[in-house]
Symmetry: C2
């Protein structure tokens, strides 16, 4: 019997679709930080009743990208410089741990997938699709978490990723510059294929620091921004 991997059938509830739609809108920056989500308006736009919409929003609140105040409304989280610092410093620690766990698990499929995702980043970069570039870059880094074989760690990282993606998207939107070079991840990929785990961990830390500095500059600009709406 031929070995065949079926992809999971899509969640065919309105709720799941709404979650995906809203998450995408938030993570790409179409919904701005601090913005209020009017249930009636959104439900009418989506041609959906408020029940599944509200359930979807509850999920995103727990996911950490929305915040809810009873009888006042649900808002996109505000982003402060400290939030970005906090997320990144935790990310460093998790990366180091994930590399340690994933290291002995690396196999042929790992390396293939590493190349595939790296290629996806480069392609998005060439196409100057910044949104997709951010997505693919995070997916590239997510590989070590998938291979770490620790479900709690993976979940934790996915939560963190939501925020990182949002931060990056806001950053890109704000400066509105051409995307970074195509080969920023070359060294990372090479090290993940190599035999020096410590070197890979060290690079991960430093690599993160690089992007971080840029993001932080953007974050500082945010600090004095008052929450409107």
């Amino acid at each position: 019997m031929a070995k065949l991997d079926f992809s999971p059938i899509p969640d065919t509830t309105r709720r799941a679709e709404i979650v995906a739609l809203l998450r995408r809108a938030i993570l790409t920056g179409q919904l701005e930080p601090g913005q209020k989500l009017n249930e009636l308006r959104i439900s009418e736009q989506m041609r959906v009743s408020r029940a599944p919409l509200r359930e979807a929003m509850r999920e995103l609140v727990q996911e950490g990208i929305l915040t809810s105040i009873p009888y006042a409304g649900t808002f996109v989280i505000d982003v402060t410089a400290k939030d970005i610092i906090d997320a990144y410093s935790l990310n460093k620690v998790l990366d180091e741990f994930a590399i340690e766990l994933a290291w002995p698990q690396r196999d042929r499929r790992f390396f293939d997938e590493l190349d595939r995702r790296h290629e996806a980043v480069k392609q998005a970069t060439r196409a100057i699709d910044t949104t997709r570039q951010i997505e693919t870059a995070l997916q590239l880094h997510g590989l070590i978490y998938e291979w770490a074989d620790n479900s709690v760690l993976l979940e934790t990282w996915q939560r963190l990723t939501s925020r990182l993606q949002m931060y990056f998207a806001l950053h890109q939107r704000a400066r509105n510059e051409p995307v970074p070079a195509e080969n920023v991840h070359e060294t990372y990929v090479a090290l993940m294929k190599g035999s020096e785990m410590r070197a890979a961990q060290r690079h991960a830390r430093e690599h993160i620091d690089l992007d971080f500095e840029e993001l932080l500059g953007y974050a500082r600009g945010l600090e004095k921004r008052a929450t409107k709406n």
Copy 2:
């Protein structure tokens, strides 16, 4: 004008109360792993309509202690040995990080709070209130996370704590033994007051390992248990 700290007014939505009720039922083991939550039955028991109940369940799904299958139902998560191992190994990493961040932030209030929470554990132990003992012990360990001044880290730990509390409760329920000694946290507290950060970190790792071994034994027994309901 006298300086007065008001505690935040409680969330007076049914949803919030339901979340608290359900969470407590799950974390104390009253709702068993794998068990299905019948919406109609629960909503009738709570004298509440299904809408807020469903929203509450959505929150707990995202919190990681419930799992939902569309059109099939919502279930308490199953606990496997691997889940416990994963949670603990991540906890070790986070503890080390939290101690590092919190270390320079320790002040008078920190030490006071440390004693207060330690006392709470000992009191629960004397009262042989195992549920409360687990709660207070986790709160004691949570102090370093609160002092670490990293909101993402704190959130992450709180999510993790939900599971740890559940695992401990199940463990206690299963063996049904008198609670451990009253002074298990003496060394931890002493080290957190001391000046040797490395020693504190090392102890945290080892202390965790101690409880872990016991829990793991319980977890192994779970492995062959089929999911009923």
